[in-house]
Structure formats: structure tokens, C-alpha cells
């Protein structure tokens, strides 16, 4: 057994243990902390699977952003484990049996791969050079399956609309409930002044390097979102009211540009979302840059939750 497989086995064991403790631990707060740890560990697993793009996304979203999102929910429903309804022993046993069956079924599928593994990698590599990109994952996201990526942005916007529309009537158009709970905290303010410059540079770098190496608009956008949230949480800046025009403009700028270029493709390259020859890379970079901003704002607003306070005039 090579030392690399020892690493993999240890990592898998740790991931499973942390995953199980996410389910079994008593308080909701502890479960959320475990889930953040789980997300960070999972990004190491993605590195071992040679999927660095995914590792970047998982570290950012699975580890950090989902943690913040869930925490907001925990903080507001502090009724946990006081009079928690426990599911009875027979049900748990039956559920355990069912889950064991599901796992067994999946394991059989995993252990019996098809004789000829289907792969699209050669096709991707063959068609990548005309786009001018060097990162095959970015190629799939922005050239071959651009429609998926466009629709994904729409899904994120729809989810944001859904979250916003869950606000009580009096708070509509107001400020999200990302409250600054406590008095200003000097170390936190220090961090919120020092980390964002680093983070913003790294976010732009992610977006830029995404054309060639692992990285891209999602990863860059998530970093920017996190830095913005950090500044808000530290109380250095107020969360914006969701009725602000600049906010809404930024939200739709990326998808709109993407859509416009897609429609223009009909005229200039005779297919929706096709890029005219020779212009593919500059167009993709432009789309990625705007998408990074839109994703940053959308993810930050999703994590901030529905508006809770009416806008002060």
C-alpha cells in the first residue's frame, strides 16, 4: 500500500467521523461548527480527486458561506435541545436499516465500474484551443455548457427573490437581518480592516487565473462576498437595503451581459451562446468579470437572509 493511499484512507475516515458527528451531536450550534469543519476537510478530498476547481468552490461555499448562513438560523432559534422531540428507537432502527440498504446499493455501483469508462475529457481538450482558454473546467462552464451556467445564475437570483419575498410586509425593501449584535470589538475591526484587501486581491486573482488554471468567477465571487460580509459583521459598514438600485443593478449585470452576448451569438456566430471566432476569450473574460461581481452580491445577500428592518429614510 502506498503512502498516498494511507493518506486517503485516513482522510476518508476523518470525513465520515465528522459527517456522522454533524448528525449525532446534541446542539444545533455544534452541528453547524462540525459542518464547517466538514466542508474544509472535503476540499482536501477534492484535491485528492484532482479536482482543484471543485476544491476551491467547496472550501469557499461548503466551509465558510454555508456556515455563516446556518449560524444565522441557529442564533435566531435558540430553542434547541431544551424540549427536543426525539424520534423513537424503532423508527431509528428502521431508518438505519433503510440507509444501510441505500449505502450498500451505492457501494455495489461504485465497486463495479463499467468496463469502458465513458469520458468526455478528450473531446473537451480537442475543442478547447479555439476558445483561447487553458482551464478545461472553465471551458465546460463558459463554452460547451454555457447554458447551464447562465441558468445557474438565474437559479441563484430566483432563490434570492424567494428569500427576500419571505420577509414580513413591514420590512419589505429594508435591510437584511445581519445584525451587528455586540459592541465594536477592536480585534475584529482590525481583522475586518486587514483581511479584505488581501481577500479582494485574491478574489480578483481567482477570477483572472480562472481562464488558465483552476479558479474562476464562482470562486472569486465567493471570496468577495465573504470579505463584504466580514466588513458588515464587524460593523464597519451597514448592510444595504435591498431596495437600493445599485444593489439590484449589480445583481443582474452579470446574467444580463451573459444573456446579451448569448443573443448576439445568434447574429454573429449563428447559435445561441456561441462566440464569434477570435473573440471568444475577451468575451468570456468580460462575462466572468461581471459575473464575479454579480455572484459576490448575490451570495452575500443570500447569506445575509431576508430583510428584517424597514429602511430608515
Amino acid at each position: 500500500m502506498s503512502i498516498a493511499s494511507v493518506f486517503d484512507i485516513a482522510l476518508v475516515a476523518l470525513i465520515l467521523a465528522i459527517g456522522a458527528s454533524t448528525i449525532l451531536v446534541r446542539t444545533a450550534f455544534a452541528a453547524v461548527v462540525m459542518f464547517a469543519v466538514y466542508g474544509l476537510l472535503l476540499s482536501i478530498a477534492w484535491v485528492r480527486l484532482h479536482a482543484v476547481d471543485v476544491a476551491l468552490t467547496e472550501a469557499a461555499i461548503g466551509g465558510g458561506m454555508t456556515g455563516l448562513l446556518l449560524l444565522g438560523a441557529v442564533a435566531r432559534s435558540r430553542s434547541d435541545d431544551v424540549d427536543r422531540v426525539r424520534v423513537g428507537y424503532p423508527v431509528r432502527l428502521a431508518a438505519g436499516g433503510l440507509c444501510a440498504l441505500v449505502v450498500a446499493g451505492l457501494a455495489i455501483v461504485v465497486l463495479h465500474p463499467p468496463a469502458a469508462v465513458p469520458t468526455l475529457a478528450p473531446v473537451v481538450m480537442e475543442n478547447l484551443p479555439p476558445s483561447g482558454l487553458g482551464n478545461p473546467v472553465a471551458g465546460v462552464l463558459f463554452v460547451f455548457r454555457a447554458l447551464d451556467t447562465l441558468l445557474e445564475k438565474v437559479v441563484v437570483l430566483l432563490a434570492l427573490l424567494g428569500v427576500w419575498s419571505l420577509a414580513p410586509d413591514r420590512a419589505w425593501g429594508g435591510t437584511p437581518g445581519l445584525q451587528v449584535y455586540a459592541k465594536p470589538d477592536p480585534p475584529l475591526i482590525f481583522l475586518a480592516q486587514l483581511l479584505p484587501p488581501v481577500g479582494i486581491v485574491f478574489g480578483i486573482y481567482m477570477c483572472w487565473v480562472g481562464a488558465k488554471d483552476p479558479g474562476g468567477a464562482f470562486q472569486g465571487g465567493t471570496v468577495l462576498a465573504a470579505m463584504w460580509l466580514l466588513v458588515i459583521v464587524a460593523g464597519l459598514q451597514k448592510a444595504p437595503a435591498i431596495s437600493r438600485l445599485w444593489l439590484r443593478g449589480l445583481l443582474i449585470a452579470g446574467p444580463m451581459l451573459f444573456l446579451a452576448i448569448g443573443l448576439a451569438g445568434w447574429v454573429f456566430a449563428d447559435a445561441f451562446l456561441a462566440y464569434p471566432e477570435g473573440y471568444a476569450k475577451p468575451l468570456i473574460v468580460a462575462v466572468e468579470a461581471t459575473l464575479t461581481l454579480s455572484i459576490a452580491v448575490a451570495l452575500a445577500m443570500l447569506a445575509a437572509g431576508p430583510p428584517e428592518r424597514a429602511q430608515q429614510q
Binding site: 446542539t27 482543484v52 459583521v233
Partner: protein, 91 residues
Amino acid sequence: MSSLLFAASVFVLLTVALGLFAILRRSADVDRLMAVQLLGTGGVAILLLLAVASEMPPVVDVAVMLALFAAFAAVAFVRNASGVSREARGE
């Protein structure tokens, strides 16, 4: 050299696992805050070792990401843990 660096990453992974176990054994919520912090340093060390051992330079970017978001998550958790208690005391 590569297998040696792998061995080092296994070692660090095991110490991180042990550390997580030590942290999770305690029942207090504040103790758990340290788990993220532990992953912040240990996870970065593991990723740097992997990046050099398997000659995948972009993995260093994952390490940066991990460091940034471990700090971010830790801030969110601390903010939350302290915010709620202050609210409960009516400050």
C-alpha cells in the same frame, strides 16, 4: 522526496484528527470554536505538503482559500456565540 512529504502530510492529518477528537470531547460550545481554527492551520499545512508532493501548484490556491474561509467562519462563529449571550443578558 515526494513520498516523504506525503508521509509528513499523513502525520499532520493524524494529529489534526486527534486534535479534533480532543476538542469535540468537550461539551461546551466555545471549545468547538477551536475546531475551525485547528483546520485553519492543519488543513493549510496538509494542502501545502500535498501541493509540493504531488506537484500540483494550483493546490496552493486552495490553501489560501482554506485560510481565508477558516478565518471567516471562525469570526462568524465567535460573533454568534458572544452576540447571543449579550442579547440574553439584555445589553
